[in-house]
Each structure stands twice: as C-alpha cells, then as structure tokens.
Symmetry: C2
Subunit: 199 residues, 2 copies
C-alpha cells in the first residue's frame, strides 16, 4: 500500500499509528502541507478533497479521509468493537474529532507552528482557541473515570483523538486543566505497538 | 427511540430521512438552533458536543453525531454495502460531508437564512462560499457518469450529502454549474420512501 503522507499531519499520523499497531507494511510519499500547488496533479482522481492522508491499495484503488482509512484498515481487528452500539460510539468520537476537535486544535497548531505566517491568522486564533478548549473539556468530562473513549480498551476512537491532542501544545493549548485527558494520553502512548508522530 | 431534533437542521434531516426509508418509528423533540441556552440541561450527558441530532435508544443509551447515528441505524440494511472497500467509501463521503461540505454550505445557509443576523457574518461569507463551491465541484466531478456516490445504489453517503446540498440555495449557492449534482438530487428525491426536510 502507498500512503500519501505528511510527517507533521496528525490526520496522517492516525493512519501510520494504526498501520504500526497492525504490523502492516506500506510505502510513504511525503506531500508538502504549505505549498499545495502539486496536489491536483498528484492527488487528482485519488481524493476529491486533494488532502493527505490518501491511501492507495495494492490493486490501485484509492481511499480518502483519515476516518474512512482507519475504518477500512481497522474493521475486523481489535480496534473496532464487535458490538454495534460500541462501533457507533467509535464513529461518534471520530466524527467529533473531525468536526469539533481538528478544525480548532489542528488548525491553530498549523497556523502557529507550521504555516510560516502565524501573524496572518492572529485575529482568528481566539475563536479556534475557545473551540479547542470546549473540545478538550468534552473529552475530559467523558474520560473522567474511564480508561478509553469507548468500552474498556483501545479503539480507533482513541487513535483518532490522540493524534492532535498529544501535540495540542503546539497550537498553544495548555492541557493542565484536563487531567483525565493527560492520563489518557499517557495510557495510549504506553500501549504495545505505539509509535510517535516522528517515527 | 427519541430524536432530539431541529426541523431546519440538515444533520437532523439525514437521520429522519434514513428512519423514514427504514420504516422505524420514533419520537421527535425539537431543539432551538438559535437560542441554545437550554442545551447543557437537556443534552448534557447525552452528547459531548451538545448538538442535534442526538438519538436516545429505547434502553436509554444515547448516540451523537449524525454520521454515527446513520451508521448505527444503517448497518445491516441496504444503505450500507457488504463490501469492505465500499463501506469505507461510504464513510469517506460522510467524513467529506462533515469536514468540507457542511462547515461551508450548512454554515452559510444558517448565517443567511436562519441566524436572524446575517449582516454579522457578511465578512466571513466569501470564504465559506468558496469552500462550498469547491465541495460541490468535487461532488460534481465524482457524480459525472455515476448514479450514486458509492457503487450502483443509494447508500448512507447519498443521504448524508443530499441533506444540505438540496437546500444549498438557501446559503446562496447556485447549483447550475454542477449538473451531475442536480441530476443526482432528483434521483435521490425520487427514491421510494423519500421524505422532504419539512415532513
């Protein structure tokens, strides 16, 4: 399999983290996340949104959207529960990540740490900071008294939300007010098979 | 089942449309989408994001996020393919909808048609218009020569993207440049079991 990838993208890291846990070999092709001028040429026909990650299966079929790629690779493994309600809960947290968490925390992180022009986004940062804090508070409430987001073990939901939460400080987020999130981050990172974002 | 609902929300309409197709009876409880002051009281403990739709199963277990609710209700039905790659493609389009399409088209529609203070958002509208046009163009490219988004029949992907696409004009979007989208909207609306957003 070929993964169109970015080393700094949490969306790509989710996929690499699952592939590492599953022990699946793959090839990486790095795409620039600032200069996106070659994306129509490289990702056209593979991903309607021209984003990374994009996975190309061994038979050439493409798959886009980190959540859909996680689901494709994870179905039938220990990372997707057998129970239909728990499966839906996993997807609930994955959709929460893409709608509430990523557009706040990943975008603030990109603006501040990777865009090269943080000052251009300064007036829009407070809104994203507030949204990110709401997302972290929702996670903290839920994780209080729980070891994992869904059920009693690591699922795709944890991998999906770990990706940008563990680098939220690069977006200016202080995790100290969210102790259950902090404990959960350590728990996810200590799982056998875990790899860091820069592996 | 009890659906915390809004008659104007496309995210809620997706769920009502699937429930109608499946012939599943349910109760609706309407929430205000402008005055959200009662949401912590009503939806606290049911939905970490305090949004509608929120579904409460007959045994009291809650489920949030329209995509997760669609998946829970749709698994095992004709709206979720048996093939694992096609299932992942359905999720790809559902994540595309929540990340690229809804934050542009649904938000522009809310600002213009439902917020009661469209002028407050005027300076931010052009960015959402451009993003919505990119999402519609991506759909149009994909639907050109296809009857449905995934495979050869109606799936959750079509229901999820129909919801806000068919009311995109309320957000100021002209669908004339996207003829394959227009044909597909008619095809989805002509399916047996279809119900309109104001049913």
């Amino acid at each position: 399999m070929l993964l169109y990838d970015s080393p700094v993208s949490g969306n790509c890291y989710k996929v690499r983290l699952l592939l590492a846990h599953l022990g699946i070999p793959y090839e990486r092709r790095t795409m620039d996340v600032v200069d996106r001028s070659n994306r129509p040429e490289v990702l056209g026909g593979l991903n309607p949104a021209l984003r990374v990650p994009t996975l190309v299966l061994d038979d050439g079929r493409p798959l886009a959207e980190s959540g859909a790629i996680l689901w494709y690779l994870g179905e039938g493994s220990r990372f997707v529960p057998d129970d239909s309600y728990e499966r839906a809960q996993v997807l609930q947290w994955m959709f929460f990540e893409q709608y509430d968490h990523e557009p706040a925390i990943a975008v603030a992180r990109f603006w501040l740490a990777y865009s090269g022009r943080a000052e251009d986004f300064a007036d829009r940062l407070p809104e994203r900071k507030a949204a990110g804090q709401r997302a972290l508070a929702a996670m903290d409430d839920h994780l209080n008294g729980r070891n994992y987001l869904v059920g009693d073990r690591l699922t795709l939901a944890d991998l999906a939300l770990y990706a940008y939460t563990h680098v939220a400080h690069e977006g200016g987020f202080d995790l100290a007010p969210y102790p259950a999130v902090g404990d959960w981050l350590e728990r996810v990172a200590s799982e056998p098979g875990h790899v860091p974002i820069d592996a």
